[in-house]
């Protein structure tokens, strides 16, 4: 479990370092509120999480993290443009019903969008898919096909093509190796296990 712990830590640390103290932060798919709790303690941010799962919402309540139970789209709709300094979408993208809509809406209500996802272009993921002939199942993709959850395979190349198509500015990007810890720059679509972006809407 120690690798799992580290895997959780590095990407969240990168996002946390981007966020300035006192920022207004919205965490889409906040889960049990671990990241928001950390940001509140470390940077005194004003945070709100959104999650669809009551058990996770209960955990947030226990952590004293404000959380909205419902869909990210419904919640973002209520906010004026650029209400948040940061919107975070960490390990959530693959589960969204309508990722493009959520990303574009997040770029409307947030000055910046921090987005992190598992790169399915990573060679080991490709190899596993080839070898077993089935969808990958791992720490992020915990569900099997029969659970019926939406389940998007995202690659670095396809994500960056999406950004170009929608004229989204990539302020910075960080690629992590298969250990989700060490950084890399060369041939990320094949070599990176995880990707993190700082995005903003083009003005």
């Amino acid at each position: 479990m120690s690798t799992g712990h580290n895997k959780r830590k590095t990407d969240q640390q990168i996002i946390s370092d981007w966020i300035r103290p006192q920022s207004r932060v919205l965490d889409l798919g906040c889960g049990r509120g671990v990241l928001l709790e950390y940001l509140i303690q470390k940077s005194s941010i004003h945070g709100i999480g959104v999650d669809i799962d009551l058990e996770k919402v209960q955990s947030c309540v226990k952590r004293n993290i404000p959380v909205y139970m419902g869909s990210a789209e419904d919640l973002m709709e209520i906010y004026p443009d650029r209400y948040f300094d940061w919107v975070i979408c960490s390990r959530t993208l693959q589960d969204l019903q309508n990722p493009a809509k959520v990303i574009l809406e997040a770029l409307r209500v947030g000055r910046h969008l921090a987005i992190g996802f598992v790169n399915q272009g990573y060679w080991l993921n490709r190899y596993t898919a080839l070898k077993d002939g089935c969808l990958p199942q791992n720490e992020v993709f915990t569900h099997s096909w029969e659970d019926g959850n939406p389940f998007h395979l995202i690659t670095i190349n396809s994500f960056e093509a999406f950004c170009i198509k929608h004229k989204i500015t990539i302020c910075s990007r960080i690629y992590l190796r298969g250990d989700w810890e060490r950084h890399l720059t060369f041939a990320p679509n094949l070599r990176a296990g995880y990707a993190i972006y700082n995005l903003k809407a083009s003005t």
Binding site: L54, P66, Y68, G70
Partner: protein
């Protein structure tokens, strides 16, 4: 897992399975041990009510006033040394001050929220001092239309001033500050009309309360809810026994009040809940010869609800309180909930119930949307239950956990 949880959830296999899953997940997957917060289970037991009476005048929102007021209330648990652990429970339309325990060992029914209030329960009386008061305008000990007016020696009847949700809250505030001498409340909790009072507390006394839990409620009464209340009022007012509100105790518009209650009671339940409880089951040994007698169980259930209501509730209070509900509108003249909420302080946990069609989840969400837009600490949770509006009053382990964790967080 300790014995208590086994006890509470013994019959709730689904929840138990879910809980097990979180528990395992918490242990193995992350550093997030979900410790069980309440350890012992108990009852508040034998309780008695108190009467707060004040000779200071009370000014109603309408501009009318009374020379003095009285409110009936109960308390459970103990006030701590720095007087910081008081929780106020606000009751719904037909509720009262008696929300936990029993008045005598022969009582068959316990207080209306006994499942959530008590030693070791979600609102833990080992930790909190719980206050529950009967609303102004009520008929169960507090001053209302059936109280005797000092100048004439006869009941107030319809000369009693119009009551609003804000009046209820302001009267409670006097109880809290004058009778109990408190300068703050740790929390205010209530469902339905009680939830409206919770919101009104936040607006009218910002800084007085630390935490708010409104549930199954709304920031303004909807047209549908007004419509149902109007049917109830018409049933009462068209009963000859109503006599323009001037009737002797026990001899009022009993038929009208019973019909109002029967109709309203349907709005507190749900299609699915009624189907599960009664279906098309027919009455045993019903007087089948009488063609329009209660034939189905659901009919006799509603008739029973109506009949038992007339023994404990006053028809004029029903008129006053339903009007208070109907006139409740936090959007105000500016048509903006945000401007009502902009000065509120403290933390909010708002809970909606999926099958509630009287105050549906969307109306509970609307409250949270506005609080969040105003930058307040607000949480929204929605509980999937099939029992309709009254879901907040029944055994609801998921609600218990939310309330308990919110109070302890």
């Amino acid at each position: 897992m300790n014995g208590l949880w086994l006890n509470i959830f013994y019959e709730d296999d689904i929840f138990f399975a879910k809980w097990n899953r979180i528990y395992l997940f918490a242990c193995f997957a992350m550093n997030d041990t979900e410790q069980i917060s309440w350890q012992t289970d108990g009852e508040v037991g034998l309780v008695e009510w108190h009467d707060f009476t004040s000779d200071k005048p009370f000014l109603f929102e309408s501009g009318q006033s009374l020379p003095g007021i009285s409110l009936r209330y109960e308390t459970y648990g103990r006030l701590n040394r720095d007087r910081s652990n008081a929780i106020l429970i606000c009751h719904a339309l037909s509720g009262d001050h008696h929300c936990a325990g029993v008045h005598s060992m022969n009582d068959r029914k316990m207080g209306w929220w006994n499942n959530i209030i008590g030693p070791g329960k979600p609102v833990d009386t080992n930790q909190f001092f719980v206050i529950s008061s009967n609303c102004i305008g009520g008929c169960q000990g507090s001053i209302g239309p059936s109280s005797i007016r000092p100048d004439t020696g006869s009941p107030w009847y319809l000369d009693f001033p119009d009551v609003t949700i804000a009046d209820m809250v302001h009267a409670q505030h006097r109880l809290i500050t004058e009778a109990l001498g408190l300068e703050r409340l740790f929390a205010v909790i209530g469902g339905s009309m009680g939830g409206m009072q919770v919101l009104q507390w936040a607006i009218d006394f910002p800084g007085f309360v630390n935490r708010y839990i409104p549930m199954a409620t709304t920031a303004r009464q909807s047209a549908q809810a007004i419509a149902f209340n109007e049917v109830g009022r018409c049933a009462i007012m068209q009963d000859p026994g109503w006599n323009n509100g001037r009737y002797l105790s026990g001899k009022g518009p009993n038929v009208g009040l019973a019909i109002a209650r029967m109709m309203a009671h349907i709005t507190y339940l749900s299609d699915q809940g009624l189907e599960a409880k009664f279906g098309r089951t027919r009455q045993n040994g019903s007087s089948a010869g009488k063609r329009f007698d209660a034939e189905f169980e659901v009919e006799s259930y509603l008739r029973h609800q109506g009949e038992s209501f007339i023994n404990r509730f006053d028809a004029n209070t029903y008129l006053y309180f339903t009007k208070a509900l109907d006139r409740f509108d936090l959007f105000g003249s500016e048509q903006s909930l945000d401007s009502s909420f902009k000065n509120v302080q403290g933390k909010f946990l708002t809970v909606g119930f999926t099958s509630d069609w009287l105050f549906p989840p969307s109306q509970n969400r609307e409250i949270v949307h506005s609080l969040l837009r105003c930058g307040k600490h607000a949480t929204y949770a929605e509980i999937n239950m099939t029992l309709g509006h009254d879901s907040f009053l029944v055994h609801a382990p998921e609600l218990y956990r939310l309330v308990n964790q919110f109070l302890l967080s």
